[in-house]
Symmetry: C2
Subunit: 408 residues, 2 copies
């Protein structure tokens, strides 16, 4: 049995037609979610597991050069095999226990970042302790650096000779949903590791452990250039510190409806194409509930006062480390006057009718850099594509999210 996926073809599971789903409709699985991998996170400290998974002939490796993924085409990831990356990561980076790896920490050595992403339980082959079965997936940073420069450059060249490419640009929104989710996990973790080489508590360099899901501040550093191999005490070594674990920044994104439910508020930034609007969004702040963050952001950016806020769905967003929490909020009567003068983030904000939004969802969607579709008429509203949670929130409101009847 594998972890259920909301995007499995119908009929997914009988329970999906149960009380919750009848009331809420099918779960919206936003782009970058819906990974087919079971992360078996509890096996990450187990170097014997990692070592076997790594060297299994089925193991698949997603390669990144400076955070750019190796692709066959804009719609297909190019996976490598263990033999391809062995010159870069060595015969077995998981040969030793974590304890020993920490003891032997040497800040002068460059260790290419390796991430264990999970196992795809739909594919047989690899098995651990006869319980955890599936195709293992890893991500590897093959950027030419330190002692691996030569090997990495050779690998990159051989990939290019096969017609593969490390895809430039930040967004990879043309991958199929499940591939996009695997890529998102890899990118988020490679970025977090690359972005945090030093300990924020003590300023010393840290070391990646737990298959790429943890960084630790080793008590010793045996690098020859270091005068005293014993490091001073560090707060992250006593108890559990969040500094050692990957960071994910919660953001709120919200479809705002008028008090009478007839209109939807959308805003636009200056750098966006003409006629393009989207839902408002912003970072959740310390000690805010999501509902409070939604009310604050909407007021700060548009001057609108919201009453009730309902959470709709969520979307991982690996640029670099966000969790987008999608909500629908309703203005209070008398609180609908737009004021862009508080926080000057938006160039414009406007109330749109249901018909305007409905038409835009049909003919005016596209990526930010793309042209609107063939049905679009100049001057009409343009909105984000289906891969954006903003689009899903607009769709939900127009379709009458959770109400049985249209909201607007």
């Amino acid at each position: 049995m594998s972890l259920p996926q909301p995007d499995l073809p119908e009929p997914a599971h009988p329970a999906v037609d149960s009380m919750l789903s009848r009331k809420f409709g099918r779960e919206v699985a936003n782009y970058f979610s819906g990974s087919p991998l079971n992360r078996v996170s509890f096996l990450r400290p187990d170097h014997a597991f990692l070592s076997q998974a790594l060297k299994h002939p089925d193991a698949s490796f997603l390669l990144f050069n400076k955070l750019e993924p190796l692709l066959k085409s804009p719609t297909e990831i190019a996976y490598a095999k263990f033999a391809d990356i062995q010159p870069i990561i060595g015969d077995d980076p998981y040969a030793k226990s974590e304890e020993d790896v920490i003891k032997e920490y040497n800040s002068a050595t460059y260790v290419p970042q390796l991430i264990f992403l999970g196992i795809d339980e739909r594919k047989e082959g690899f098995a651990y302790k006869d319980r955890y079965k599936g195709q293992p997936y890893f991500a590897v940073d093959v950027s030419p650096k330190g002692l691996v420069t030569e090997a990495a450059e050779a690998l990159i060249k051989s990939c290019q000779a096969k017609g593969l490419e490390f895809s430039k640009g930040r967004m990879h929104m043309s991958l199929p949903a499940q591939e996009a989710a695997i890529y998102a996990e890899a990118r988020h973790l490679l970025d977090w590791n690359a972005r945090n080489p030093y300990c924020a508590a003590c300023g010393y360099q840290t070391l990646s452990i737990n298959a790429g899901f943890k960084r630790t501040c080793p008590p010793k550093d045996v690098a020859p250039s270091v005068q005293n191999s014993e490091r001073p005490p560090c707060a992250t070594r006593t108890g559990v510190s969040n500094l050692c674990f990957p960071r994910t920044d919660p953001t709120v994104i919200m479809a705002v409806v008028s008090a009478d439910g007839q209109r939807m508020l959308l805003g636009r930034q200056k750098r966006w194409p003409k006629y393009w609007y989207s839902t408002l969004a912003g970072f959740l702040e310390p000690a805010e509930s999501v509902e409070e963050a939604v009310r604050r952001e909407v007021w700060e950016e548009s001057g609108i006062y919201l009453g009730r806020v309902v959470i709709h769905s969520t979307q991982p967003w690996p640029y670099p480390a966000n969790l987008m929490i999608g909500a629908i909020g309703q203005a209070i009567p008398g609180g609908e006057e737009i004021n862009l003068g508080h926080d000057a983030e938006l160039e414009d904000a406007k109330w749109f009718t249901a018909d305007e939004v409905r038409e835009a969802l049909q003919v005016g969607t596209s990526g930010l850099g793309e042209d609107a579709g063939p049905g679009y008429k100049e001057g009409g509203l343009r909105v984000p594509p289906k891969t954006a949670i903003a689009n899903q929130l607009m769709e939900a409101v127009v379709a009458g999210f959770a109400s049985g009847a249209p909201m607007i």
Copy 2:
């Protein structure tokens, strides 16, 4: 007009009785949310605003000594006035622009952490540009340290002489809800600043700016002991880096119901009192949606396979920096067998009937360190108190969250 509060007395706002609220019931405002303060976050870089708010006679200061808040009693915060803390923070820490403060950065100087929390718009008095009006709230770290040691010790003594106390222990769950929300904001930010004195990108010391909501890695350090006042380049200085902003860790917490909706899964940790169970919970991982994280955590900890997941409400949790995202998930038929052998976090997990949970919510709630209430009979289920989102999730399921009819 001030930002709406979900816990205002009835009738709150007419919109609260509109379509969304009729379908969803009133919004659940969990403990530590529901702050009465408008953070006016966009004014934080404005040192003229901060300076006026700081020195206004209405300004109220929440004092912390090593993260312990100054209280009058377990149910009341003791606020100080500007004159009380002037010996510690100086005449006006906001006299200079942020630009100048960064230019003059000196890593050898200890600057007590000061946080601008927001303005309470219900109280008249202070006004900025005739638009932002209300009583200003700040938090200050008065721990005896560096050059302020003497002044801080004197302040602490004078507080104690008045019968006030820096409250030991981590949890302050007996404060009224709105005070708890103010305390939570202060604690989260003081902790984040204290926990992150160094830059994770380059290892150099950082400086608090934006009224305590940002840390920056200054390009120069004029401390006399520093050989070269120009620092090397740092990645956080080009573009916007999340490392400069407070961290909030999203966690998921979920009431799990059986496929037929008749039972609820609860688990217990070894260190909890006998008969005490709660909902399962865990950290969201990189590039997971909340719905995926809920399914993963429930499977890892209990072996149960979930289908549909619905988000219920959220709770800020300032120990040290969590956002608890509360959800309700439903097991798929055939996926209800408990297996504690994957991730060994729980001592036990068990299916309970609606009646068992209902009774526990009536007679078996209490804080972890407290005795169960008078109606509790030894051997009955014990569960967390109303201040915990776990309790609210159980209540929601028993009351038939969003279904019109009981879920279990």
